[in-house]
Every structure is written in C-alpha cells, then in structure tokens.
Amino acid sequence: MATDSSAYEEMIKGLWRDNPVFVQVLGMCPMLAVTNSAINAVVMGLATFFVLVGSSFLVSSFKQWIPKQVRISLYIIIIATFVTVVDYSLLALLPAIHKELGAFIPLIVANCMILGRQEAFASKHNVKYAVMDAVGMSGGFMIALFALGSVREILGVGAFFGIDLFGTNFESWVIMILPPGGFLTLGLLLLFFNWFTERRREFLLKVAESDRMAYVDGDK
C-alpha cells in the first residue's frame, strides 16, 4: 500500500502543488494561443493528456535502451508519434475544432511541459510512477487551460461552451478573445494562485505556532 499512496502522491502534485502552468509556468504557447473558448481549451487539454500519458509510458518502458547521448531526439520522436495520432484522430472526429486549433495541434510536439516530464521524470522512474505523474501533470495543465478558456469565453463572447449566458444585449470584451486577453487573464490567474499559496502558507505557519504555544503552555 505504501507504493500506491506515493504513486497517488505523484499524481496529486501535478494538479496543484507543482501545477505545470501556475507553478512551473511551462507550456505557455498553447496556453495563450488556443484558450479563446472553453471547448478549444478542453480539446487541447485532452490532446495534451493523451500525448503526455502515452509518451511517458513509452519513455519509461524503454528507458534502459535509450542511449544518453541521443535521448532528446528519441523523446521527440516518441512524442511526435502520439501527436500525429492525435492530429489525425481530431481531423476525423472533430473537424471543426481541428480547423480552429490549426497549427497548435502539431505544435504539441514543441510543448516544453511534455519534453520536460520525459527528461525530468519518466526517464528516471518506473512505468507506474511515470504514468501517474503524466496523468497528474496533464490534468493540472487541463485545469489551467479550462480556467483560462472559460474566463476568456465568458467575458469575450458572453457564452460558456457555446451556450449564450447574457442575451443579445451583452457587450463583449473584445480584448479577451484577442492575444492581449490571454496574457492578461493568465497574469491575473497567476497572481491569484500565488496570493492563495502565500495565504495558505501563512495560515499553516500560524496554526503551527499556536500549536507550539499550546504545547509550551501545557509543559509549564
């Protein structure tokens, strides 16, 4: 059971504590480019999920046969294989969204978050941990994409997943569906995330301090 709980730990860390977007600030290119609507963000998140979990699995399984000198190019080939699968699947299943995401599907290859996980984690751990880590990291990535995409779609066009929220009189925030809106929203989300983390740490310190004081008082 001990191994199970630590594998679970590897998954949870990607969702919040080591969130690839809010904490590591990786994978900014798709983050800013395709999050002008919630559905685009979710599809991008799912595509990244598939690619990251698949390539972490392969890299971790083959790690003893990958020579150190050429490891990066091999990782890229493995990632590119999964990206091609995603590219053609989306083209077949969701052609409209595939058209909207455009060049950013092939560009998943260049997402540094994915390559980073292969180099930093999958190549050093066994398959189970590698897959759990990939699930957590891409889950965290998806949460961030979804948060950004929802804010931008709600303010930018007054809708959520294409469902109209405010009626015809809504004044759309044009900037939100344009690139500056992506930067602005991401910056504000990062601000909120850091503020929250700081507050949580202060709170925990305060609790620990009061516990210690209670202990000292009890000692007397």
Partner: protein
C-alpha cells in the same frame, strides 16, 4: 527637554531645509488645475459626464482601498492620488459611455496601472492612460461613440447609454457625431479654431476646452508642479512636425495646421496632466526634452498615418515605456570623472 522656542539654540537634525512641496500638496495643485476644465466639461456634457467622473473616481479609490494593506491604508490613501487617477481617466472617456465601463476602467487603472507595480511611484505607465488603453481595447465601439456637446439647456439630461446594466451594451439615444480629429481624418474637414478653443465640440469629457486646459497647465507650471521642458518639447515638436507635413503635402489635403494639431483632441490634456506625471517621465532635463520630442513626433505620426484619429494615448504610453532607457542614457556626468 529641548526648547524649540529659544532662537539662539535650535536643535534639529538634518535635513534642515525642507521643501514645502509634498505629495498631497502636489496632488492638490493638480486637482485645482483640473477644476476649470472639469467644470466646462459638465457645462457641455451635463449630468451624464458628472456621473462618469464620479464612477471612475469611485472605481479607482475602491480598488486602491481593497488592495492596500490595512495598516498602510490611511497613509497611502491620504495623498488622494487614486481619486486623481480616476478623475484623469474619467476626463478621457466619451460622455455617452455606460457607467459600469467607467467603473471598470477606474479599477483597472489603479489595479493594473499602479497597485500591481508596488503602489505610488513604482509604476512604469501612467495609470489613467493604462485604464483608457484597456477600455479602448476591450470596448472599441463604446469608446469611440461620441455625442455632440450640448448647451446648458440639456444639463439634466442623462444619456440612456450611461445607465446600461453591467455587462450590457449602452442604448444610444442620439445620433453620434464625429470628433474634430475624426472629421479631419475621415472627412477631411477642419473645425473652426474658435470652437476648439472654447470647447464646443464633440470629444472626450475633458478634452474639449483648450482655453481652460491651458489655464490649468499654466497654473501648474507657475506652481512648479510639472516640468516645463516636457510641454515645451511636445508643443514645439508637434507644431513643427505638422507644419512640415503641411508644407510638404499642400494645404488642400488632410494635413492639419499646427494650431489645429495643438488644440484638437487630447493633446493639451495629455501634455499637461499625463505626460508630465513625475513617476512615468524621465528625471534628467535632457531626458525630459527627449521624452517630449518623442511624444510630439509620435502623436502627429499616429494622427496622420495610424488607424485611429487620436494618437496621444499611445504616444504617451510608448514614451513611458522608453523612460527607464532615457534615464539611463542621460545621466549627468559626475564632476571630475572622465566618462
């Protein structure tokens, strides 16, 4: 105990000479300088304009209050700079703008323009103009719909577009008109200098009456509240550059006269009250000249060749961005040093 009243023995620690100009006093001067132009704006645009000014000030002050530490609040807010930012932003807004946008603009001005950089004195861009740039990018149609200036007769008339619900579009009751700059750019029509001077034209709330803005500016210059080199450089460059363009291209095209360039749009308001913001303008005299020349050049360039009729906003913001660089390259030589 030290007896301060004994004239022969004055015990004081340095600094012994204090300048009377403190931040709250400087802010008070700017409030006074803006008063005539604001009053004229209310005369021309009525209660709607007053409501816009009040909401944008409220947005700015509330944001400052929310994001300032509880212990520092009283000190940080005593200089009234947040309210001044709100007023300056309000003066750059069109009179028919929905009130919730004015509130949002005030809050963005302070939140993204000032607090996030570390408060008063730490920001790179002029907060009021940052708020206006945000509003112009976010609501491009509402921010470029201008109502005509009215007389005292319709003072109590509030535009129905002012009262739109939050997140909803304003319903415009009157036909929108073009500003003098818009007329010049798109219709090649010149507005009479006298109406530009008095302010009986369409435009942002505070940019109409050149005469009263000049009054405010001269008052600030006399009080030494602003650096004289910046307005001087802007006026010189803008008028010389537009004169040169007029002479090169001929009088019958859409190239305005130097006087039209100076007295139309937001040039005076921006020059006296935004470009001279001591936080976002260079510190050195030489730097001030460069800064002003840059603004004067850019504003004419944007007005003549840009997509927008008015270029003051982006001219100032661009030169704000260049300010640290200007400061670095215009530092005076230390006496006795070789380089």
């Amino acid at each position: 105990m030290m007896n301060n009243k004994d004239p022969k023995l004055l015990l004081q620690s340095a600094p012994l000479l204090r300048q009377e100009l403190t931040t709250p006093a400087a802010m008070k001067d700017v409030w006074i300088a803006l008063l005539p132009a604001t009053a004229a704006a209310l005369w021309f645009f009525g209660l709607g304009a007053l409501l816009i000014l009040i909401t944008s000030i409220a947005g700015a002050v509330l944001t400052e209050w929310v994001f300032t530490d509880k212990d520092k609040r009283r000190f940080a807010m005593s200089d009234t700079s947040a309210g001044l930012t709100g007023l300056l932003l309000g003066l750059t807004l069109p009179p028919g703008l929905p009130l919730w946008m004015a509130f949002l603009g005030g809050s963005v001005s302070i939140g993204l323009g000032k607090v996030i950089w570390g408060g008063l004195g730490s920001n790179l861009f002029n907060p009021a103009l940052l708020g206006r740039a945000f509003l112009l990018g976010t609501f491009p149609i509402a921010m470029t719909t201008w109502g005509a200036a009215g007389g005292p007769g319709d003072f109590f008339q509030i535009h129905s577009s002012n009262l739109a619900w939050p997140f909803m579009q304003g319903q415009y009751d009157a036909l929108s008109t073009a500003t003098p700059l818009g007329l010049m750019k798109f219709e090649h029509e010149t507005t009479a200098l006298s109406s530009l001077f008095l302010g009986n034209t369409a435009g942002s709330i505070g940019e109409t009456s050149s005469l009263l803005l000049l009054f405010g500016g001269v008052f600030l210059l006399f009080r030494r509240g602003i650096e004289w080199r910046i307005p001087a450089a802007i006026f010189l460059t803008a008028s010389l550059f537009s004169l040169a363009m007029l002479l090169i291209n001929g009088a019958d095209s859409n190239y305005p006269s130097p006087l039209f360039t100076l007295f139309s749009g937001g040039l005076l308001l921006g020059t006296f009250f935004m470009a001279t913001d001591p936080v976002t303008s260079p510190l050195t005299p030489k730097g001030c000249w460069i800064f002003g020349i840059g603004i004067g050049f850019l504003v004419v360039l944007i007005r003549l060749y840009g997509g927008l009729p008015e270029g003051m906003l982006y001219a100032i913001l661009l030169m704000n961005a260049a300010t640290p660089l200007i400061d670095r390259y215009t530092q005076p030589k230390i006496f006795g040093r070789k380089s």
